[in-house]
């Protein structure tokens, strides 16, 4: 089509720019707030950066904001990294193996297992949160990394993704490898893993964001501040209607908490989009 209607193009650009600005606005104000003193934020409502950034970030990272309800962010960031990577690596390895069994083997109970895995697709952790909490509590896993990580591995989205992918690997490739002498373990190691690289990377991105952003679950299973994650660590600091929140510190913490997954999305955009689209198939 001949696109010579320039005013219309300009209008579209204007709307798009307006849209992106609105989307970014909360982040911008958060950034600005994180560079001022709390007094300045509340009384002057600044729209440009101040000079308190260093102090604010050092304060929250070192635990100096504990009295306003923010546990040491350094420790929380570490916990978040452990939880996110634990969920990501755990889910990837469990699902790569399970999908391999379901696709490349024939064995009794295969269908039963398959449908059991299938059912887990339907129920996110949020809706079975109470009983899951009790199970984890019974197993003595409250306030532990395994308690944070394992229950969130118990769904099969990744298993299904890999199963779909394995099914697209041509039969001939599998047959050629068998004639070449590869057994099940060798075939997995020499062929399946290298061929799954892109899918693993895409899944890694999605699972990392999923793991990092967990909220309700860490809220329940951690009561010890040293086990808090950064995404949940803010909850007590804003929940007081009467007190004036320490916006500078809250926003510093919030920005630190959202930075890793946002960076992942921005810099691994292609893998992120692939992962997002693939998991919905």
């Amino acid at each position: 089509m001949v696109r010579n209607v320039t005013w219309r193009t300009w209008l579209m650009h204007a709307v798009l720019i307006f849209g992106t600005v609105i989307l970014a606005f909360p982040i911008y104000t958060a950034l600005v707030a994180s560079t001022h003193t709390v007094r300045a934020v509340i009384t002057e409502m600044p729209l440009w950066f101040g000079s308190q950034a260093w102090e604010n970030y050092i304060t929250v990272l070192s635990g100096g904001a504990s009295e306003v309800g923010i546990p040491p962010v350094g420790i929380m960031m570490f916990n978040s990294v452990v939880m996110a990577l634990g969920i990501t690596v755990g889910k990837l390895s469990v699902s790569l193996l399970a999908a391999y069994a379901v696709v490349f083997f024939r064995f009794p109970l295969r269908r039963v297992f398959f449908w059991m895995i299938f059912i887990t697709l339907m129920l996110p952790v949020e809706v079975r949160i109470m009983p899951t909490f009790e199970v984890v509590s019974d197993l003595g896993m409250l306030n532990s990394y395994s308690g944070l990580i394992l229950p969130l591995i118990a769904s099969a989205t990744a298993t299904f993704l890999f199963r779909q992918f394995y099914l697209t690997i041509p039969d001939e490739l599998f047959e050629a490898a068998r004639i070449d002498g590869a057994g099940p373990l060798r075939f997995f190691w020499d062929h399946i893993l290298p061929l799954s690289r892109t899918n693993m990377a895409a899944m890694f991105v999605i699972l990392f964001i999923y793991g990092w952003n967990q909220y309700l679950w860490p809220l329940l299973v951690t009561s010890d501040e040293s086990m808090y994650t950064v995404v949940m660590g803010l909850q007590r600091s804003t929940a007081m209607p009467d007190a004036i929140p320490h916006w500078n510190l809250i926003m510093s913490t919030a920005l630190l908490g959202l930075l890793p997954p946002v960076l992942v999305v921005v810099f691994m955009q292609r893998l992120f989009v692939k992962g997002l689209v693939e998991t919905e198939k």
Binding site: E175, I179, D180
Partner: protein
């Protein structure tokens, strides 16, 4: 190097039997071609030899050892697939080396064998490339190389040339034949292409619907087809099959034309086969010629020779195709007299469609 033997081999998928009891002995070093239309069971047979399909009943042995229950890797065979089945994440070198590496062959030995095969196949400069950076013909060579380096007891080919363009296919066919002449391993080759079957095979097995129609040398298959199916399948254009009726000593076909036969015929109806190249527009020297009248419907000049489509006169409305020298002058819609020698005829039982042997015929 090994003899491959199939005894009463059957294959069923659930209730449906697709291979109905095949017996075949492939002597050591033979180039055997399995040919037939799609769905005839030829690939299934090859895959059973490879160990990729289980054998429902019967026995397969390689080198006098029954292999029914052996994994493919323990049968010491190599296979080339139609779509090549190269490992996309491995370089050409790694693709060829893989089978040796898995078997624990020494690195230096692998290196020598892969390089040797690469030189043979003209792949020397592509060893570091990934399959996706190769042309179709080169991929085909890598697939061959992968089989070659293993020096297995037998090579199995599953329509290896059908993804190539016509020119490349002819070239690879010649190379395959030379390869076999040099290696002298047992080759089992599946194709649906009768030209490949005729040019490559020392023996050919023609299959149809899971049954063996005929096993024989290309010469036997061509000159003594065991059934109308084989007669029609091998040779291009196909053999003309005309209906004939037995009347005492005579066989009538194409309206009035007749033959005299000596010997006993199984029924009242027969099929008469005659190849297009055995029909001509005039007698050449002396001989026992039959003749039929036909109207020329269409002329296809192929350059080297000309294919003429005719319609037989005499109410039978059968089509007949002849292949003649391009200098022959014949025009569409003309009526022509077609001659053929009685000893080039093939007689088939109209009911069983099998060849009738031991019956002499002459023009009558």
């Amino acid at each position: 190097m090994a003899e491959i033997k199939l005894e009463e081999v059957r294959k069923s998928y659930g209730p449906a039997e697709v291979v109905h009891g095949v017996d075949l002995t492939i002597p050591d070093g033979e180039f055997l071609v399995l040919v037939g239309p799609s769905g005839c069971g030829k690939s299934t047979i090859l895959r059973m030899i490879a160990g990729l399909e289980t054998v429902t009943s019967g026995r397969i042995s390689i080198d006098r050892r029954i292999v029914n229950r052996l994994e493919p890797k323990d049968r010491d065979i190599a296979m080339v697939f139609q779509n090549y089945a190269l490992y996309p994440h491995m370089s050409v070198y790694q693709n060829m080396a893989y089978g040796l590496k898995v078997r624990g062959v020494h690195k230096a030995d692998i290196h020598n064998r892969v390089n040797e095969a690469a030189v043979t196949l003209g792949l020397g400069e592509y060893l570091d490339r990934k399959p996706r950076a190769l042309s179709g013909g080169q991929r085909q060579r890598v697939a061959m190389g992968r089989a070659l380096v293993r020096n297995p007891k037998a090579f199995l080919f599953d329509e290896p040339l059908s993804n190539l363009d016509a020119k490349l296919r002819n070239q690879m066919r010649v190379e395959l034949k030379q390869l076999h002449a040099r290696l002298k391993n047992t080759f089992v080759y599946v194709t649906h292409d009768q030209v490949e079957a005729m040019t490559l095979g020392q023996r050919i097995m023609v299959l149809r619907d899971g049954n063996v129609e005929q096993v024989g040398t290309p010469d036997e298959i061509y000159n003594q087809p065991a059934s109308t199916f084989v007669a029609g399948f091998i040779g291009a254009p196909s053999m003309n099959i005309l209906s004939g009726s037995v009347d005492g000593d005579a066989i009538r076909f194409a309206g009035k034309a007749g033959l005299v036969h000596a010997g006993s015929l199984p029924g009242r109806e027969v099929k008469i086969g005659v190849r297009p190249e055995h029909l001509c527009l005039r007698k050449e020297g002396e001989g026992d010629y039959c003749q039929v009248r036909a109207k020329v419907a269409l002329i296809e000049p192929l350059g080297g020779d000309t294919v003429v489509h005719c319609r037989l006169n005499g109410g039978s409305d059968e089509n007949i195709i002849i292949r003649v020298h391009p200098d022959e002058k014949v025009g569409e819609n003309e009526t022509a007299i077609l001659y053929f020698k009685a000893d080039t005829l093939h007689l088939f039982d109209a009911e069983t469609q099998r060849r009738i042997n031991g019956v002499q015929v002459c023009a009558g």
